[in-house]
Every structure is written in structure tokens, then in C-alpha cells.
């Protein structure tokens, strides 16, 4: 589904990614963890070319994102992203936020898109907020709307960039709940997060990125129970104390 080979990314003369290799299979939930500044968000942003890789190849559902003939807008709607700061469109109602993509990108009729949108809002438990504006919602509600907005494109994969990091602690649960349901339904997900509980419970594989390379790539059981890698041990020691 997603195949990243020897991905490098530098910002000016700072090399953030130094040869990343990751494979994500259809229906797989991959969680990426790592210290801040390790480049995990950059990996995610390279997958749908919000960040242009310096070198390497990224293939999403058979399409090479670096190939000039690839319709990058199409790739983005197939592997869409949920952001840390939600980035809802503040001038549109919740429902319009969700239907914009289907109407403009997937050329769906307005009625059809709204039906789809209402269905997705019920799914994330926010059907009663359809006519509200984003600034009338809590952080957790905003993020659930953002997830519904992504789902409205019927994507093949969703990339989550620290989806709960900007939320008050009591609102994290409702967002993780929605994500768990998606995982159960078989959605391909790549999740950058600090929620180790979520990783343990939901992930098929957990990846530890540090210093611009993948240091560990294992199923969650092995990843958490027996971390041999010294830097991972150190990292887990720090986060799990807080978690």
C-alpha cells in the first residue's frame, strides 16, 4: 500500500531523514514513535508530498509520488492527513468542511455528499453538530470532524500527525476511540503519536525513529515488552513514566 525506500530529507543543510525504509500493507496500522525532532512527522508529510523528499522513492497505492506524471492531488485524496491542529476550515460549517472534498475532488453531487457527510458525522458521534462552525466545538470534537473530513474522500489510507497532542487530556479518549474503530474496520493507518497505550492496543507494527533512521520496527508486543535497543529503552522509560 505504502512503500518508502531510502527516503532522505534535508532542510537547508540539516539532514532530518537519512534513509528511511518503511512498508505498510493494506489494512495495516503502523504507529511511529520517537523523540521530538526525530523526523517522524516529516516522514508522514513526505508520504503525500506535503514535504518534498530530497531523495528516495515513495510509492502510494502503486503511484510514485516523485513521478511528474503522477496526479499528486489524487494521491493526497487517497492518502489523506489528519493534523495535530485539526486545520478545519473556520469559515464553513462542520458539514461543509466534510463535503468540500467529495464535491470538488470526487465530483459528487451536493445531496450525495451531504448524505455521506451526515453518515460520517454520526459515525464519529457528532451528527448534531453538522450546522455548527468549528469554533463552537471542543478540541476533541474538532479532531473527530477532521477525521470525518478525511473519511469523506473514501481514502485508501489515513495519515495521522500527532492527532491527540493538541488536546486536553480528558478529550484524548474520544479521538482514540474513533481511531480504534477505524482500525477494526480495516483502514490502513499510519499514526505518529505519543499515545503508547494506543500503540500497544491497536498497532500491527510499531516503528521507532531516531536520528533520521528507523531504529526499531516490530510488532507491539516485542516492541514494548522487550526493548533491546538502548535508545528505545531510554525513550520508553521517559514516556511511560508520564503515561
Amino acid at each position: 500500500m505504502i512503500s518508502i525506500k531510502n527516503l532522505h530529507k534535508s532542510f537547508g543543510h540539516i539532514n532530518v531523514l537519512k534513509g528511511i525504509n518503511i512498508e505498510v500493507a493494506q489494512g495495516e496500522v503502523l504507529v511511529i514513535v520517537g523523540p521530538s525532532g526525530s523526523g517522524k512527522s516529516t516522514v508522514l508529510r513526505c508520504i503525500n508530498r506535503l514535504e518534498v523528499p530530497t531523495s528516495g522513492t515513495v510509492i502510494v497505492d502503486g503511484l510514485d509520488i516523485m513521478d511528474k506524471s503522477t496526479d499528486i492531488n489524487f494521491v493526497r485524496s487517497e492518502a489523506t492527513m489528519v493534523f495535530q491542529h485539526f486545520n478545519l476550515f473556520p469559515h464553513m460549517t462542520v458539514l461543509d468542511n466534510i463535503t468540500l472534498g467529495p464535491i470538488k475532488v470526487k465530483k459528487m453531487s451536493k445531496a450525495e455528499a451531504e448524505k455521506l457527510g451526515m453518515g460520517l458525522l454520526s459515525k464519529v458521534g457528532l451528527a448534531d453538530k453538522a450546522k455548527n462552525y468549528p469554533d463552537q466545538l471542543s478540541g476533541g470534537q474538532k479532531q473527530r470532524v477532521a477525521i470525518a473530513r478525511s473519511l469523506a474522500l473514501r481514502p485508501k489510507a489515513i495519515l495521522f500527525d500527532e492527532p491527540t497532542s493538541a488536546l486536553d487530556p480528558e478529550l484524548v479518549g474520544e479521538v482514540l476511540e474513533v481511531m480504534k474503530n477505524l482500525a477494526t474496520e480495516g483502514m490502513t493507518m499510519v499514526v505518529v503519536t505519543h499515545e503508547m497505550g494506543f500503540a500497544q492496543e491497536v498497532a500491527d507494527r510499531v516503528i521507532f525513529i531516531d536520528e533520521g533512521v528507523v531504529q526499531v520496527d516490530k510488532p507491539p508486543k516485542e516492541f514494548f515488552i522487550n526493548p533491546e535497543h538502548p535508545r528505545l529503552k531510554d525513550f520508553l522509560g521517559k514516556v511511560i513514566v508520564h503515561g
Binding site: 506535503l50 476550515f89 478525511s150
Partner: protein
């Protein structure tokens, strides 16, 4: 020589002055209409990724902002005909002057408003598969436009006052009309005072409308 204030002169001059004020409004509205188009165009050029395009827009903006409007008006109306062999009608020249002038300022307003929108909005638009133009049209522009309203209103008031400079090229707007009345009755005090009051009425009405529009825009969906 004792000065005699004659309020009657003020009242008598009002009907003619209002005719002039009508032209002032046409000049302002016409000029700003084209000024907004110019401003939106050059403002977006200023945001281009290509430095050459940005530079072109910059040259326009700097030239207009860096020269007096009076000089521009006289050059366009008296200077240019020497080269072209014909003179554009004064009213048209007036609208052109207001348009290119306000356009330069509006370009900066547009650029500033678009740049003030969180880059996350562009990314969110792109990530749902919209292309750059669509994201601009459906997401960035509507939000930027709201932020442009207060400075655009300000520009409206400035342009309205600027139209008085167009008396120099013989456009019969408010001040020119006043000037012509004074030439006949020599009551400069009363007539110019009346002109000033009419300008004030117009600018205050615009300010009032703006406050209403701003309130309306604030009511739905900000943050």
C-alpha cells in the same frame, strides 16, 4: 472689513454641491471597483513563487505609492495627450487615477491578508485533494477577504477624499463645484465649509456601514 457669516449662502449652495457629490461618489465607486480588481491581481502576483513576477508587481506598487496622485493625474490628463495625440475624458481619467492608486494600496492589503492565513489551511486543502487554485478559491480567499474588510473600508474613505484632487483636471466633483460657486459669489468661507461638511457626512456614512459589515462577518465562523 468686517466678516459676516451668512448661513443662507451655505443652504443655497447645497443643491449644486450635492450634484458634485454625486460625481464624487461615482469616481470613488468606479475607481475602487477597478482598484480592487487591480489590487487583487497584483496582490496575488506579490505572493507568487517566482521572484520576477513578484518584482513586476513590486514595481507597480512602489511607483504608484511613491509618486503624488496629483502628479499622476496631471501626467495622465495633460502630459500623456502630447504623446498620444488625444485626451481621455476627464471623468475616465479620474476613475483611472483612483483605480491605479487604490489598486497599489489594495494589493498590499490583499497580500497581507492572504499571508495572515495559517499555512495549515493550505495544507488541509491540499490534503483533501484540492489543487492550489481550488484551495485558494474555496479556503484561503474567503478567510482572507474577511480580514481585508477593515483595511478596505479605510481605503474607501481615503479614496473618497482623494477624489477632491481631481478638481485639477476639471472633473466637476464636489470640491470643483464648490470652487466654481466661490468664483461667482466670493463666499469662500461658507462654501468650502459646506463642502467639508458634505465630505464628512459621506466618510462617516461609510465608516458606519463598515462597522455593520464587520459585525455581520464576525457573527459567523471566525477563529
Amino acid at each position: 472689513m468686517a466678516f459676516n457669516f451668512e448661513p443662507k449662502v451655505m443652504i443655497e449652495s447645497v443643491p449644486m454641491l450635492l450634484k458634485g457629490a454625486e460625481l464624487t461618489i461615482y469616481l470613488t465607486v468606479g475607481g475602487l471597483f477597478f482598484g480592487f480588481i487591480l489590487g487583487a491581481f497584483f496582490g496575488l502576483l506579490k505572493l507568487s513563487r517566482s521572484w520576477i513576477i513578484r518584482k513586476c508587481a513590486g514595481v507597480y506598487i512602489e511607483t504608484i505609492r511613491g509618486t503624488p496622485m496629483l502628479v499622476q493625474a496631471m501626467f495622465l490628463y495633460f502630459g500623456l495627450p502630447m504623446a498620444l495625440g488625444f485626451r481621455i475624458p476627464a471623468m475616465v481619467a479620474g476613475i483611472i487615477i483612483i483605480a491605479i492608486n487604490s489598486g497599489a494600496y489594495i494589493a498590499e492589503i490583499v497580500r497581507g491578508a492572504v499571508q495572515s492565513i495559517n499555512p495549515g489551511q493550505m495544507e488541509a486543502g491540499r490534503t483533501i485533494g484540492l489543487n492550489a487554485m481550488q484551495t485558494m478559491r474555496y479556503i484561503i480567499w474567503p478567510q482572507a477577504f474577511r480580514r481585508m474588510v477593515p483595511p478596505l473600508g479605510n481605503q474607501f474613505i481615503i479614496s473618497l477624499k482623494d477624489t477632491s484632487l481631481l478638481m485639477i483636471i476639471g472633473v466637476g466633483e464636489l470640491l470643483r463645484t464648490g470652487d466654481e460657486i466661490v468664483a461667482v459669489n466670493f463666499r469662500a468661507f461658507e462654501v468650502y465649509l459646506t463642502c467639508g461638511l458634505i465630505y464628512l457626512c459621506m466618510t462617516m456614512s461609510i465608516a458606519k456601514c463598515l462597522r455593520i459589515i464587520e459585525k455581520r462577518l464576525q457573527m459567523r465562523g471566525k477563529a
